[in-house]
Point group: C2
Amino acid sequence: MSEGSTFGSLKHLLVGRPIPSHLAHHERLSRVTGLAVLSSDALSSVAYATEEIVRTLVLAGTAALTLATPIGMVISGLLVVVAFSYRQTIYAYPGGGGAYIVSKENLGPVAGLVAAGALLIDYVMTVAVSIAAGVAAVVSALPGWHVSRTEMGLVFVVLIAVGNLRGLRESGRIFAVPTYFFLVSLLALIAAGAWRAATGTIEPVAASGTPTPTGVASLGTFLILRAFANGCTAMTGVEAVSDGVPAFKPPEARNAAATLLTMAGLCVTLFMGVTLLAHAYRVIPLEETAPGYETIVSQIARGVFGGRGPLYYCVQAATMLILVLAANTAFQDFPRLSSILARDRYMPRQFMNQGDRLAFSNGILVLSVLAGILIVAFRGDTHALIPLYMVGVFVSFTLSQAGMVRKWRRQKGPGWIGHALFNLVGTVSTCLVLLVVAATKFAEGAWLIVVLIPAIVVWFLSVRKHYARVGEQLSLQGWTPEPRRHNTVLVPIGGVHRAVVQALQYAKMLSTDVRAVYVDVDPKATEDVRRDWERWGQGVPLVVLPSAFRSLMEPLLEYIEQVDDERPDDFVTIVLPEFVPARWWHHLLHNQRALLIKGALLFKPNTVVTSVPFHLSK
Amino acid sequence: MSEGSTFGSLKHLLVGRPIPSHLAHHERLSRVTGLAVLSSDALSSVAYATEEIVRTLVLAGTAALTLATPIGMVISGLLVVVAFSYRQTIYAYPGGGGAYIVSKENLGPVAGLVAAGALLIDYVMTVAVSIAAGVAAVVSALPGWHVSRTEMGLVFVVLIAVGNLRGLRESGRIFAVPTYFFLVSLLALIAAGAWRAATGTIEPVAASGTPTPTGVASLGTFLILRAFANGCTAMTGVEAVSDGVPAFKPPEARNAAATLLTMAGLCVTLFMGVTLLAHAYRVIPLEETAPGYETIVSQIARGVFGGRGPLYYCVQAATMLILVLAANTAFQDFPRLSSILARDRYMPRQFMNQGDRLAFSNGILVLSVLAGILIVAFRGDTHALIPLYMVGVFVSFTLSQAGMVRKWRRQKGPGWIGHALFNLVGTVSTCLVLLVVAATKFAEGAWLIVVLIPAIVVWFLSVRKHYARVGEQLSLQGWTPEPRRHNTVLVPIGGVHRAVVQALQYAKMLSTDVRAVYVDVDPKATEDVRRDWERWGQGVPLVVLPSAFRSLMEPLLEYIEQVDDERPDDFVTIVLPEFVPARWWHHLLHNQRALLIKGALLFKPNTVVTSVPFHLSK
């Protein structure tokens, strides 16, 4: 396979070796690895959720910061409710209960598409927000790097994209390291902080950055709801376990459910721990885009561990790693959902996984480009990205939970009322959060997502309609092919040389009706061609076309039209010699006339353009 | 010609209607129109030449500005010398004596290529500098527009490029308006200024911009030479008349010579007038990139006409228009020289004028992109661009004059010594200027051009070498074509539908050895294809290939390889059904498998890939 291997090795370099069919499901997750692989998105939000609450409250003055703890507790409560709601999805959908599937099956295709659109947005935002927050963790530890935040974010996107294109996801188990490193670091931080609080050795930390505006708003219901809405970022990623049930070792559902509850418990612990420590250390949020920026987690870690020592750097490194890992999960989810949507003909079939990894590569590329654009547009500012993040997340939460309620009501299995009630509480909670988020963050960017989701749904439907139409037009049902009897072969030539002679040899094999066509723009050159034709024309008649305007293309196209009119239903084949240069840049030195002719004839039925390659060796 | 017309009208929209051959030379220039068409480049340099001298002198303090007048007089003297030198070229080359032709004929091909490279750079720089100076004239009159200098420059480039693509150059006579408008405005300005000087009514003008640094250097020889080098921009464009001799009415040479001397006289008058007025008004140069920037011509016009009144705006508008016109001449010269170089095989043949305007369009596009890049890179700052401008100009001047000296010496016609002496003085003068320019502006950017010219020459030679090699490989001399007897036709299919049936109909016309090829990735789907084949296969054998890695491409490529090995010297044709969607964006909804297959087989000899179009109507 000497020729195919050029293509093959290029593909391998970019997307890695193909996986033989029988090895596709070789790796099942235990509870320990499952937690590591599936919880990074949920756990990593601890890095910014508390900060988002505090940033909003401080607008009403530092006194308002006492409200962070009760708001955090409400969010923790909701998180537990949603986790128990998703636990039911795990048992009901042991094959994997993503929001798209649950919504489509129970609420109808449009609800499914709304959930799918929301999820695709969610994945893009997960990448952008997680990487922005990861960069924030880095620049908190290394303030000198603050100037290159956007560039650093883009480097992360490229690294993760290339990792995934090369098949990083096959080695899921190495993901255990950053997750458990983060858990241990954060739990140690919280424990040490609690010890300091108990022993009364807490001293406020001083930060060198620019504080966010404070005392510019009054402390009303709207502000508190905004702070609550921002804090609900802590709940993102909680659905990951229910999507991934079939990846667990048997009994899949039981292992997944246990993992989900463990994850929810850890989330609540870390989130409340950080929130309480932020209060204890009277930490003030800083402007992310100003020099000297430091995350709240970084400020706390400095306070607890007494400055930038080894333990402090552990916390920052662990935070950065789990955030990158969270971004990485989106790089697996986005192509997978795209592939499912493509299978259902709602997305272009280039995203459908047809055997090798090419389809996933398309998803990975689209995701990285979109996330990269967001990072550049928002200059890698986590806080500015958050309003766009939440709407998509809570639309899919709500639809998925509502779908579960509908499922229980329809199936009416044993104990269905209890099940339905559990999910109903989940639905109502997430729907309320959705409304609060959409209302309080609308002007800050949530409107964009509110507009975007219906637009994506319309696009999904138009793609499906297109494929349905193509299917009709290709259908053999009740169709009789027109008989074709004749193939007129034309060989346009610009001179007489080896490539032309070879193209003529080929053309003569295709049909008994072959004609060479030459456009006369210079009588002297035409004379030469006629003379050479006697010797090299292989008996093929030479048609010389006059050109009033010295144009080469137009007389040729007119002649093709005329030939086609002779037998409208039969084929006309244009055989062109095509140079294949020895170096790619030599292409620039040859007229792209073949391309022009092809372009001009593209919309002409029954006309086939064939290039006979002539290989230049130097 | 219903199909060709899609292509035809697109081309007409972009490049204008084609010109019938017999109308190509319908317009000859009188002395009056010749001056208008050919002198804009030379005259327009008055807009910035004085300013370039003053900018440099002021570095040694405002007292040094008294040197501007003597420097201006030296430059004027040189300009007259060079004009007389070029006057001889006009008589010696009545067919047009561009630097490329004169150098090539008399000094050899490499000298010709050096001149050609220098000229191409010159044309790009003419566009960039003229447009930057035109924008400077606009923002001097309308200070509020200062913020959009780069954008305005790009808009000018695009407008001139589109105008030329659409065939603006056919209507040469309308160019008389801006040239004479500029001449009248500037002569009026100088006359009014002279009157004020004579009547002692000159008052210094106050400008609001930031003055350029002053008194930071000492007044030594180097500084004076730098000021001189900068002022030599006044000489750019003087060669234009000698390039365009055949465009004049008979007697061509006499008319051209008279036009050249008139132009030189006008250049000297305007340049010295502005220089003297700058001195009389004690005008100080301003920072071009700082707000409040105003050109020296604008400051003088404000002083002479007492503020921004109608006469002031006339001067600014005329300056802007003639600068745009100067840029426009480069849009005719660049494609013309490229076409000549392409005819001589030193540039890709896409630049060769082969009848219609497409070749010129390529030249126009390349020129606009390069000039646009320069304007963006230098933020439309005239002063920053000047160092790059001068080297190219004076290299071509020197070579062209030196070529003339050689010509006289070789021909030894009557009075050859006098002729040769005239050109020798021109050669030595321009060569000295070249050395001064290269030395004093080296660090400011001239080094780039010093490096670029040899690089372009190497490129010219490598292009020519490539075409020579291709010519050898295509030569029929002593060549015997290999006999070809067989054409194996393969039709890869992904299912059975109308497009496949049509492709099979076509394939059966090409050869008696036709095989359909299907890759088995799903036993159920394969079963369906086999069943449908019985009814729709038209007797063509179906080859089913196994795929261990669920890949579609690799088994297919391996099979093609195997078929090729059966008869290594004969043809293999791959017939693919290709969808032609009803809307261009529908392309994105179909797999580009045909493209992938074509790409994979591109470098395989004797393998032809043919797409049979299947037209989707909705």
